[in-house]
Amino acid sequence: MAAGCSSYSRTEKAQTQISFGSSVARRGLWREAAFRFQKAIEKEPNNARAHNNLAVALEAEGEFARALAEYKRALELDPKDTYIRRNYARFAEFYTSYTRTTGKATGGS
């Protein structure tokens, strides 16, 4: 019983969720990955890696505004991490062009 409980608590660890989430992400299952990374954040709200991974998963799902918030949080928690900084720079470039204003709407007929 005790062994069962300890095994259950292990699967609830943030690290386990990140590991599982990253393995499904590599298979393109981004929704499941996002769910896992969210779980990891619930366990460890200050885990920069989990925030970074969630940002990537949200980006893959097209939820760019939420991805931006997650990238910012990841950078806030670990501003020196090269990978997070690189991800954020690339995302910022994409997001800027994505949200660029497109001028006036055409008149419909």
Partner: protein, 242 residues
């Protein structure tokens, strides 16, 4: 004795398996980061319904004056080739309806800034053709002789040492620059202006200019179509694996 030997083999197997597992986990732990590829959607630059009537008006040819001096530019009808390319791409990859522009239509000016402000002209063209949006702008295509001396590494067969030598390399560069202007066919006002550039370099001094032009155009295809329709863009990101 036999039993103890059997157990020994099992034990060795377990130890080997344990070592392998620990080595693998150590390897994955040291990796820690994986690169993943995402397909990001690019919204169309123009706020369209998708089935508008579109007119392809003439473009200002920025290199028209140089045609007389440059024989290679004389072989390319830039206006016709570009219009044909654009028409084909729009017909194939969008649901926009192309309406013909009468061949006698001439641009009111060759100055791009003034062209953007010619609201009356664009409104009249919109009314004449029934187009909801009108595309125009400017085109620039240059063929450049990029031949010259370049430094090259050279390993001597005599002493196997590396030396540097100057070699003459013949190359041709193709530069293509498009300024797109999109007008509202009802109001005649400019709704978007964007510029795309591409440079290609190929070996040889006599590289074909038409082939060069299409190399440029195909590399800009995604950006051009993204004005009208959503496109995908591949992006790379890093995720932590532990």
């Amino acid at each position: 004795m036999a039993r103890s030997t059997k157990l020994g083999v099992r034990g060795v197997g377990r130890v080997v398996a344990l070592i392998l597992v620990s080595m693998l986990s150590a390897l994955s732990a040291s990796a820690g980061v994986a690169q993943v590829k995402l397909k990001l959607p690019l919204k169309p630059r123009l706020p369209l319904r998708g089935n508008e009537r579109i007119a392809l008006a003439p473009f200002v040819i920025a290199t028209e004056a140089e045609k007389a001096r440059d024989k290679r530019l004389q072989n390319v009808d830039l206006q016709a080739e570009f219009q044909r390319f654009l028409k084909k791409q729009i017909e194939k990859k969008t649901k926009l309806e192309i309406v013909p522009v009468p061949p006698e239509v001439k641009l009111p000016t060759q100055n791009l800034t003034e062209l953007g402000r010619s609201t009356e002209f664009w409104r009249a063209l919109g009314a004449q053709t029934g187009a909801e949006i009108i595309v125009s702008g400017s085109l620039e295509f240059r063929v450049e002789d990029r031949s010259g001396y370049k430094t090259e590494e050279y390993v001597s067969p005599i002493d196997s040492r590396t030396y540097y030598r100057q070699v003459y390399v013949e190359q041709t560069g193709f530069l293509f620059d498009i300024v797109f202007m999109v007008f509202d066919g009802h109001s005649g006002e400019k709704i978007l202006q964007d510029e795309f550039k591409d440079f290609r370099q190929t070996g040889g001094r006599r590289a074909d200019e038409l082939q060069g032009l299409f190399e440029n155009l195909f590399s800009l295809e995604n950006q051009i179509l993204n004005l009208f329709v959503a496109r995908d863009r591949e992006a790379e990101r890093y995720i932590f694996t532990d």
